[in-house]
């Protein structure tokens, strides 16, 4: 074995076998089940540190985000309905959705039969408050007014059957959360001054964040919309997480594909120009390919998925990985006549290995973060770099060819000239003064850096989409907020009781207009305790002997025997309360089921959804106001986490520099280590200063960009330092690397997506500076 490892040929075949194995695993096991994730939230650790609850919350937000609401509008209801039914049919026939709802079984919305049975335990908040405060006269007077009222009120039982309309009031209080949509035939409709809209709800089977889903869905939605809108006057409005997620994923993929293709072409073209043969191009491409396959395989097995961000960040490694390849190949310009790839190994091998070790050490620093997203980037980068580096070291000695016509190419002359300029700058007598000035300006610039971690700014949606969403919210009048309360307790009954206790506090907020409305299951299903309290309350007040019930019935003219029967109905009404299981299995609970999370871990949990949150801090103040009540604000959490990620990543960069410094000090000397590290450090500082002065907000993604600057900067400095006797070829190698990286990241800076743009801009500036600083600081030894 030792012999095999020691021989160039042995290493070649060993590595080839390993890589073939990897490709086989990738093709057969990884690729078919690979999942690319675009949801920024999956990169974050869970909110509650309780996996069961996190799962339940994910389940809730999935259920909400799987729903896409469409309003198909037309100049009159008939036109709108007609268009909506064609729209729904088109979506249905695509089979891309799990369920398309146009017709509603409206009776289920009312579901009176179950409630009728338990009606004496079901009181509206208003009735309950009157009776509790002893305002029975008010109660009786209202009942009489309501009976004389000409307008058709919600009165499921006849006046004689339920003179106080207890059931009607209980049911109608649930309607306020239903928004403005009202049934027209079997279709739900809304209208404004000009248009009528029919409601179509589409459910997807998968989370909208898996790319497999939106690949199919968005085109279907677009063609359904286009088809409907060919009819004059018809318009389709959409609202839902799916639309945002799909659009974001599509933009991201488009950008990555475009940038990836352009940068790949640019880099390969550059290699072709330099080495004037397709062979090095093919070799470099296979090195990059192996690195990428290894990185994706590792992420797949470690994390079970590959996040889009890891991919974006990883695609930046093209620049770093290609360095190994160009560094090796450029070595031939050291001795164009007699160069053989085998003898290049002792020259460039150590510097390539050292560069790789430093970069990997830096990226592994990200592993220390307790955040899945950064860990994934770390694994992706480290594995990709190690494999690319070993591929160069094992394959190139046998595969690389000397150029047929070793004439100094254009790029070599260019890099020589660049090196000359940098040398002159270094020798310039004002250099120290200008350098100091630059340091001062940069430090001032650093003070102006502000942070922008708001996830809405980093992953924005198109204005058309937001406008459509706003109009849907305005028409339906119940814009559901992404924030909600989580209620947990030991039993289902106590969950309901906690919700009821929360109602008082929420009602106060509604009163103060801090909140438009809220919804939870205890609105439609009071806790058993509350139901028995209600029965007790009625017994002591309205149905007490000689109480309001008999008075009112007498006043209305009910015959005495009927009055006796009604009083007996109350007295003999079931003592049992409507329980959760019976309610859940009845269609009446359908509008509420997503709010019941069921048994999670050791407890039961439910959700209180909110609509129209105007004063977030007032609502958030109820977090923990009752035992088991949590306020969940996922968007804010994501923003907060991005901020924390940023600080953590910044701290990890410092740590990475420290580790690399130690490694360098061990190999060289402390002094050399400092001068080598000065290159990426100063590039990073100046880049940040630029962001500060030019007013770009810094976020996690800038810090991640600085990680790549670190990797490349260390490479450049180490290569120049290690190959001081082959300066020309090394300068060529790092010039090629810089051009390559700037090509790829210069283009990323043009992306639509702010976080990709941040990364690109940071690298564009950072790498250019690194290149210049490396050439300035690492001068050749004087002869």
């Amino acid at each position: 074995m030792r012999k095999v490892l020691d021989s160039v040929v042995g290493r070649f075949w060993l590595w080839t076998a390993a890589m073939l194995g990897l490709l086989l695993i990738f093709a057969l096991r990884v690729q078919p089940s690979m999942r690319i994730d675009t949801d920024i939230q999956t990169m974050l650790p869970g909110k509650t540190r309780d996996p069961a609850i996190d799962r339940a919350l994910t389940q809730y937000s999935d259920a909400v985000s799987r729903k896409t609401v469409f309003l198909v509008g037309g100049p009159d209801p008939a036109a709108a309905k007609n268009a909506a039914s064609q729209f729904a049919d088109f979506l249905r026939s695509s089979k891309a959705f799990d369920r398309i709802q146009l017709e509603f079984d409206a009776k289920a919305l009312l579901g009176m039969d179950l409630y009728k049975k338990y009606r004496f335990g079901l009181l509206s908040e208003k009735h309950r408050a009157w009776l509790q405060r002893g305002e029975t006269r008010q109660f009786g007077r209202e009942a009489l007014r309501a009976i004389y009222n000409p307008a058709p009120l919600i009165r499921p039982l006849s006046v004689a059957g339920d003179p106080f309309n207890l059931l009607g009031d209980f049911v109608s209080q649930q309607w306020s959360m239903r928004g403005a949509a009202r049934p027209d035939g079997s279709v739900l409709m809304v209208s404004d001054a000009q248009m009528s809209y029919a409601l179509v709800i589409a459910d997807t089977a998968d989370s909208p964040f898996s790319t497999a889903t939106d690949d199919q869905l968005l085109p279907v939605i677009r063609s359904a919309t286009a088809r409907a809108e060919t009819v004059p006057g018809i318009e389709v409005l959409g609202s839902g997480v799916l639309l945002h997620a799909s659009a974001a994923a599509q933009n991201a993929r488009h950008d990555i594909n475009m940038v990836g293709a352009l940068s790949m072409t640019g880099i390969l073209l550059m290699m072709l120009l330099t080495f004037r043969s397709l062979w090095p191009v093919a070799m470099s491409a296979s090195i990059l390919g192996m690195g990428a396959v290894a990185a994706m395989t590792a992420c797949h097995y470690v994390f079970g998925r590959i996040h889009l961000f890891a991919l974006v960040f990883g695609s930046g490694l093209i620049g770093v990985a290609i360095d190994y390849s160009t560094h090796f190949l450029a070595d031939q310009f050291r001795d164009p006549e007699n160069w053989t790839p085998t003898q290049a190994l002792p020259h460039v091998g150590p510097s390539i290995a050292m560069g790789m070790a430093c970069a990997v050490l830096g990226y592994l620093g990200l592993m220390l973060a307790p955040l899945p997203g950064l860990q994934e980037m770390a694994v992706f980068s480290a594995v990709g770099l190690v494999v690319a580096c070993f591929s160069v070291l094992c394959w190139y000695p046998l595969l690389a060819r000397r150029m047929r016509k070793p004439r100094p190419p254009l790029l070599l002359r260019g890099s020589d000239a660049m090196d000359d300029v940098m040398g002159k700058i270094r020798a310039w007598r004002f250099f120290p003064a200008v350098g100091m000035l630059l340091v001062c300006v940069s430090l001032l610039g650093l003070l102006r850096v502000h942070f922008a971690d708001d996830v809405r700014l980093l992953q924005p949606s198109s204005p058309q989409l937001l406008e459509s969403e706003r109009r849907v919210a305005r028409l339906l009048k119940n814009p559901l907020d992404s924030r909600f309360f989580l209620v947990r307790a030991a039993t289902p009954q106590s969950v309901l009781q906690t919700e009821e206790m929360l109602h008082g506090k929420l009602d106060a907020l509604v009163e103060k207009k801090a909140l438009a409305s809220y919804n939870d299951i205890s609105r439609a299903l009071p806790s058993p305790q509350r139901q028995s309290e209600n029965r007790q309350l009625l017994k002591q007040t309205v149905y007490a002997p000689g109480g309001l019930a008999s008075t009112l019935m007498k006043q209305l003219g009910l015959p005495p025997n009927l009055i006796r029967r009604r009083l007996a109905e109350f007295a003999s009404a079931p003592r049992e309360s409507l329980e959760l299981d019976e309610w859940l299995s009845n269609p009446v609970s359908e509008p509420y089921r997503h709010l019941w999370l069921g048994r999670t871990g050791g407890s039961y949990a439910s959700i209180v959804s909110l609509a129209g949150v105007n004063d977030v801090s007032a609502v958030a103040a109820l977090d923990g106001a009752l035992p088991g009540v949590r306020f969940v604000d996922k968007i804010n959490d994501v923003s907060e986490f991005l901020g924390r990620y940023r600080n953590l990543a910044a701290a990890l960069i410092a740590l990475a520099y420290g580790l690399i410094g130690v490694l360098m000090a061990w190999r060289y000397s402390a002094r050399t280590a400092l001068s080598l590290l000065a290159v990426p450090v100063s590039a990073a500082v100046v880049t940040l200063a630029f962001l500060g002065v030019s007013g770009f907000g810094a976020s996690l993604f800038n810090v991640l960009g600085l990680f790549i600057v670190l990797g490349l900067g260390v490479d450049y400095a180490v290569f120049l330092r290690e190959s001081r006797h082959a300066r020309r070829s090394t300068v060529l190698a790092i010039s090629l690397s810089t051009i390559g990286t700037v090509l790829s990241y210069g283009l990323l800076a043009l992306s639509h997506i702010p976080f990709i743009r941040s990364l690109g801009l940071t690298l564009l500036i950072g790498i250019t500076l690194t290149y210049a600083f490396a050439l300035i600081s690492q001068r050749p030894l004087r002869a």
Binding site: L109, P152, S158, S172, R182, P183
Partner: protein, 219 residues
């Protein structure tokens, strides 16, 4: 619970309708035919700005032998809403506007519901308003329309399109000549309401200052 008593009441109602004989629900129509039918008697049907008059209302309640009667005055204003002033057996003003619902008993406000928060009231108020102003377009969104007419009189029948509305509301009959004379509402629970309008004046004039105040407008 026994249902048979509904039928006699229905028969009674149909018998007292201004248009005799034929059952209106045998004559379905659409927005255009119903509007045409109404405009033969009322050229401005559905375009009334302000409607003033007096009403007498009879509530025929299931299982209760004697109807509940009430009398009062009303104003319908297209852009403001409904003011329904019951004078006997008690004094109570009921205001339904596009902005919400309010009640004043002997001049004291006892209820005020903001329409923005309570969508169902808005829907109810729009429909109720449409019944009396013969806004066929609005009615057709919630109801299937039926109509018959001779040279003097017309009758309009409304049946809910959706099961949800039908679970509460069975049907409605509106009849009249030059003006709306009678509205009969049958609830699904067996109760019904008969409203007769008298001395109805359909006018293009704006609301008086006092009327505007009733609807909650600043003076």
């Amino acid at each position: 619970m026994n249902r048979p008593c509904v039928l006699p009441i229905l028969c009674l109602l149909l018998a007292t309708d201004p248009v005799p004989a034929d059952d209106v629900f045998a004559h379905p129509g659409d927005v255009a035919t119903i509007t045409h039918l109404l405009r033969r008697s009322i050229p401005g049907a559905g375009q009334v700005e302000v409607l003033r008059g007096q009403f007498s209302q009879r509530k025929m309640l299931r299982e209760i032998p004697t109807p509940l009667n009430s009398v009062g005055e009303f104003v319908f204003a297209r852009n403001s809403g409904i003011w329904w002033h019951t004078q006997t057996p008690f004094d109570s003003e009921f205001i339904l506007s596009r902005g919400g619902m309010a009640q004043r008993d002997s001049g004291i406000e006892t209820m005020n519901v903001n329409g923005d928060q309570q969508q169902e009231f808005q829907t109810t108020s729009m429909l109720f308003f449409a019944l009396f102003t013969l806004d066929v377009d609005t009615l057709s969104q919630t109801f299937d329309l039926y109509g018959i007419a001779d040279h003097q009189h017309w009758q309009l029948g409304l049946r809910p399109k959706s099961a949800a509305v039908a679970a509460l509301f069975k049907d409605a009959l509106i009849s009249g000549g030059e003006n709306v004379k009678q509205v009969v509402l049958h609830e699904a629970n067996g109760d019904s309401t008969e409203i007769n309008l008298h001395a109805v004046r359909s006018e293009q004039t704006a609301l008086t200052v006092a009327e505007r105040k009733r609807f909650g407008f600043p003076e």
